[in-house]
């Protein structure tokens, strides 16, 4: 086996003394510190809403909101359409696909005197446990009725586990009305 002799770099006297290198290092950190205080470091100049101290975004004062990409996956919520119909037909596909089993649906039948009786079913209870949700977006992907969407909200807080469960009412409140969806039920008599 060949022996490879590593050639050590030849240091000049200034490098061997170590002190000039320390002074050089000190000047580099001092220069960077001055630029950081003036808000001129590369991090502070980026496009994010940085507070001017490096790239750090100081959360409650500066927020992500206008920087979020369209594909951002936040809190899942239910939507209603232009006619105020709740789009969920409680097929429970989202409940079955949900990897962490965060969704719990209790289906119920729509009464025969309801204008949307032809849809047949709607959820009686629709709970999403936000302590379990992993924001994977599979519920949105699997939904045949375009009823559940991941919104751009990300600040879900609560003081207890019960508060972190979004019930049906809260889900419609977050989701709101979504227009321009496929409305196949309008044509069915």
């Amino acid at each position: 086996m060949a022996i490879i002799k590593i050639k050590r770099p030849q240091l000049t006297i200034a490098e061997k003394l170590y002190l000039p290198a320390v002074i050089k290092g000190l000047s580099i950190t001092l220069g960077h510190a001055i630029r950081a205080v003036l808000g001129k470091t590369p991090g502070a100049k980026r496009n994010f809403n940085s507070s001017g101290m490096g790239i750090t975004m100081q959360y409650p004062e500066t927020k992500w909101d206008d920087q979020l990409p369209d594909y951002y996956r936040g809190v899942p919520a239910l939507v209603t359409d232009e006619k105020g119909r709740e789009r969920c037909v409680s097929c429970q596909l989202c409940e079955f696909i949900c990897p962490p089993k965060a969704i719990a649906i209790i289906p119920t039948e729509i009464e025969s005197d309801d204008p949307w009786a032809k849809v047949e079913k709607r959820p009686q209870e629709f709970d999403i446990d936000m302590t379990r949700c992993i924001y994977c977006g599979m519920c949105e992907e699997v939904c045949p009725e375009q009823a559940i969407y991941l919104r751009q909200d990300y600040a879900m807080t609560g003081l207890s586990r019960a508060e972190m469960v979004n019930d049906k009412e809260r889900l419609y409140e977050i989701g709101g009305v979504r227009e321009g969806l496929v409305n196949k039920w309008n044509d069915i008599k």
Partner: protein, 385 residues
């Protein structure tokens, strides 16, 4: 009791309380804050900027953040309220005594540091130093090196291989750098010809700081008489600068600061000698480390940067003012804080030494250099006389 002795006891007691609890402890607390803020500025971060008056607890809409200036208080409170865990496998006696042994010597050294010139109380001059003894630097060396016991005990009593390695490293490192620390100071003492720190500062006020001889008894840089009489000062600057570099580096090593923080060395030894410590015991180690850093910078300032003196022959005028002594204290504390920030600045610039490099630097470079430096100084002094 003799009123003179009573006066001495009372003034000394007041000085102890004021210098320790009013000056040094807050500076220690805020040097931890400064450490975090300065490091965050150097590293493009924000640092602690939130802890202020928590008005939201009392129903107000917003807190007053004060740029996080109350962070040290919150840290201290946290250290007091945390569980004081003593693991089952430690040697209890040494485990308990080690933190106190680390912190106490650093605080003891405060007593010989001249914080200011003197103030007049009841028509009697009171020197602003707790103990005006004629063995200043020697006292510091004797006491400060005791803190190695605390760290070694902590490392050994913890009964943990990382702590033990930290303790052993600390022991070797402190003993090695003690030598260059002492030897590097001899040229300074040769130039001043005495060991009393108050008198050393006085002579610096009159004849220019050790490392900045911009004035002497003939006037300052603006006078022609100065330039005819300043040759020896500038000649002595050469060995004194070498002294300063060795002394400052050794102080870094003695206080276990970066780049010599091998006893703690998070990346290799978890936390080094204080791995097993929690709560206020850990806080005492922390306190001791920062106190040592502040005492170290105070001694550097006293010996090399004129202590409390402002220089340029202005000090007699300040001393004659009504509260001139207090102004001198302010000047001194400003210099010390500047040096503490220098310590922090170095910490976040220079990476840690390897252990063999550390030993080589101490024994092969600094020890010899300090020895040779003594002869250089002696030669220069002989030439000038």
């Amino acid at each position: 009791m003799d009123p003179a002795i009573l006066f001495l006891i009372l003034t000394t007691a007041v000085k102890i309380v004021v210098f320790t609890f009013v000056f040094t402890l807050p500076i220690i607390a805020y040097s931890t804050y400064a450490e975090r803020r300065v490091s965050s500025i150097i590293q493009d971060r924000v640092g602690p900027n939130r802890v202020g008056i928590p008005l939201t607890l009392f129903g107000a809409k917003k807190d007053i953040p004060f740029a996080g200036l109350l962070q040290p208080l919150a840290d201290g409170l946290k250290a007091f309220l945390k569980e004081d865990l003593v693991p089952a496998h430690v040697r209890k006696f040494f485990f308990w005594i080690a933190p106190a042994l680390t912190a106490a010597p650093a605080f003891l050294c405060i007593c010989i540091i001249p914080f200011g010139s003197s103030i007049t109380v009841f028509d009697q001059p009171v020197k602003l130093v707790i103990a005006d003894i004629d063995a200043g630097p020697l006292f510091v060396f004797a006491i400060a090196s005791l803190s190695v016991y605390g760290i070694t005990f902590a490392g050994w009593a913890s009964n943990n291989k990382y702590s033990f390695l930290g303790g052993v490293r600390s022991c070797a490192q402190m003993i090695s750098y003690e030598i260059s620390l002492g030897l590097s100071l001899i040229p300074v003492l040769m130039v001043f010809g005495q060991l009393n720190l108050s008198d050393i500062v006085h002579s610096q006020a009159d004849n220019g700081w050790t490392l900045l001889p911009l004035w002497n008894e003939h006037g300052s840089v603006f006078d022609a008489a100065y330039w005819q009489n300043c040759k020896e000062q500038w000649l002595l600057m050469i060995p004194l600068t070498i002294s300063f570099i060795i002394f400052t580096t050794s102080i870094f090593a003695e206080t276990n600061r970066m780049p010599f923080d091998l006893p703690e060395c998070e990346t290799e030894l978890v936390g080094g000698y204080h791995t097993e410590y929690s709560s206020m015991k850990f806080a005492l180690f922390f306190l001791g480390e920062y106190a040592a850093m502040i005492v170290g910078s105070a001694i550097i300032v006293t010996l090399f940067f004129g202590g409390w003196s402002l220089g340029f022959g202005l000090d007699t005028a300040i001393s004659n003012m009504a509260l001139g002594g207090l102004l001198h204290i302010l000047i001194f504390l400003t210099k010390v804080i500047a040096f503490v920030i220098f310590f922090i600045w170095v910490r976040w610039t220079v990476p840690r030494f390897r252990y063999d490099q550390l030993m080589k630097l101490g024994w092969v470079v600094f020890f010899e250099l300090a020895l040779v430096n003594i002869f250089i100084t002696a030669g220069i002094i002989m030439l000038l006389n």
